[in-house]
Amino acid sequence: MPEPLISAQHLVKRFGSFTAVDGIDVDVRPGESFGFLGPNGAGKSSTMRMIGCVSPVTEGRLRIFGMDPATQGKQIRARIGVVPQADQLDEQLTVRDNLELYGRYFDLPRAECRRRAAELLEFVQLTDRADSKIEPLSGGMKRRVTIARSLINDPQLLLLDEPTTGLDPQARHVLWDRLYRLKQRGVTLVLTTHYMDEAEQLCDRLVVMDGGRIVAEGSPRSLIEQHSTREVLELRYPAGTNVERAPDVAGIGDRSEVLPDRVLVYADDGEAALAQVHARGSRPESALVRRSSLEDVFLRLTGRSLIE
């Protein structure tokens, strides 16, 4: 088993009396795609900032490439790429300038910055926009510029904080495709997200965070197998009557969840569960059978939805 690239034991981050990260243990191996899944305020970004060596560890032990961020932050930062939540691009400069000048922060010679910038713009399919300023670009394009910029130092580890939040579905798929290619090249990806589809697409393994703690860990598949059923039956009753309809589904499938807008029945065979509901004479306005997702895992583990 290879030495972990990131190793955290009982990692804690406090801001005054507020505990953002409350004693987490994480190991990320080289070449792995690892995700932190959780709602806003779960402690994902604070964890990422500690791993990125910009935020000091309050308690616990953290090693990246076997080095200590407290004393070797500079050497660690030289080998990682960071895609922050906000793009942090210089809007008045061109796409190319943004990349080249960032390369200079890593002390790369100018000619090398130029060479890499051209190559990376090719990779994120923005070569034809190289001389455009940032400001007129779409959100998806800016995101791609930020990803290209984060790769200028040829990092072994790429940290992505909410990489596709706020993007339209098509732009998200373009980004996922690029990130998948990076993974194939052997770059270790660590990302935070509150989208379960993103975690399912990109992550080999993930931890579910809630209130600064890790509440579950595993591959998307194994988490679903452990914490949910194969299928989910979603029932919608007339608005405001979901709670009183709870007895209609009691005892059907493995278990059920009554949410404000719908009733979920967890069962390995959703169609059979629906037949049972109908057999009881219950008539929901709509019924949908789908596969379980990480959303269901999160609901199961925390009793709350991911996006509220």
């Binding site: 910009v54 500079k74 930062r77 922050p84 942090q88 210089d90 008045q92 400069l93 922060y105 890593f106």
Partner: protein, 260 residues
């Protein structure tokens, strides 16, 4: 061969400036030029023919008295505005400092790059004023380049302190107050337009406590070839204390803001 970190951070500022330098240099030339014409030539005609004018101004014509001081006032104005909105933008709006802090650059490297840029900006603006002064026979002198260097030091004395303070701000509401209550009063009472011994003595002490008066004395002395060793050392030392204090504070406030 590696380049110092501060210079590499400075490159971003400089590249950005290259997209706007024309309008920027014009502003640095036009405003002092108007003061030179309006005050230097207009008021100068009045002053130079008045009683005891020569002794009050130490034997200088009014244009010689005022002109070089504008190098120091311009540097002050340029660097103070540079150390407010652009610095807050580095933390908040475009967040360029946060982007830089994710690389091997340390918060201290970012501070050094920012100050290097402020000094550059003051040198550019001061040179523009000096070039204007070189157009007038009265103020054309070999001491102008040295006056530009003193102007940059004056600018840095302001920008280092203000930059350290800006790094603690969340909003830009209070920035116009710096212009209202610091820059404009100093411009008027800092000894650029008349010798400060014309002021009530308490106001003289206020003027002497602020960096601008020391900068004005240095630029005026350099351009007119009247620097004395002892007073020069005192003025330069006084300005360097401001820079050193500002630098120390800025390293602290940047570290807090970038590494929480």
């Amino acid at each position: 061969m590696s380049t110092p970190a501060a210079v590499r951070q400075w490159e971003t500022h400089f590249r950005l400036y290259r997209t706007i330098w024309k309008s920027n240099v014009m502003a640095s030339v036009v405003q002092p030029f108007l003061y030179l014409l309006g005050m230097g030539v207009g008021v100068g005609a009045l002053v130079d023919h008045g009683n005891q004018a020569a002794s009050k101004l130490g034997g200088l014509t009014y244009l010689q008295f005022l002109g070089p001081a504008l190098i120091a006032t311009t540097a002050m104005m340029v660097t103070t505005s540079e150390s407010m909105w652009p610095v807050l933008g580095g933390f908040k709006w475009q967040s360029g400092y946060h982007a830089a802090a994710a690389t091997p650059l340390s918060p201290g490297d970012v501070v050094a790059g920012v100050f290097l840029w402020h000094a550059t900006k003051a040198l550019i603006a001061g040179s523009a004023v000096a070039a204007t002064l070189a157009l007038f026979p009265d103020t054309r002198s070999a001491g102008l380049p040295l006056a530009v260097v003193f102007g940059a030091l004056t600018g840095l004395a302001f920008s280092s302190i203000i930059t350290a303070w800006t790094a603690t701000r969340e909003q830009d509401f209070s920035f116009p107050n710096i212009n209202r209550f610091v820059v404009t009063p100093l411009f008027l009472f800092g000894g650029a337009f008349y010798p400060i011994d014309q002021l009530p003595s308490w106001l003289q002490w206020v003027a002497k406590a602020t960096p601008l008066w020391h900068g004005v004395e240095l630029t005026r002395g350099a351009a007119n070839g009247r620097l004395e060793l002892q007073s020069t050392l005192i003025h330069v030392g006084y300005l360097l204390v401001f820079v050193a204090v500002g630098w120390t504070l800025a390293r602290r406030t940047f570290r807090t803001r970038l590494g929480a």
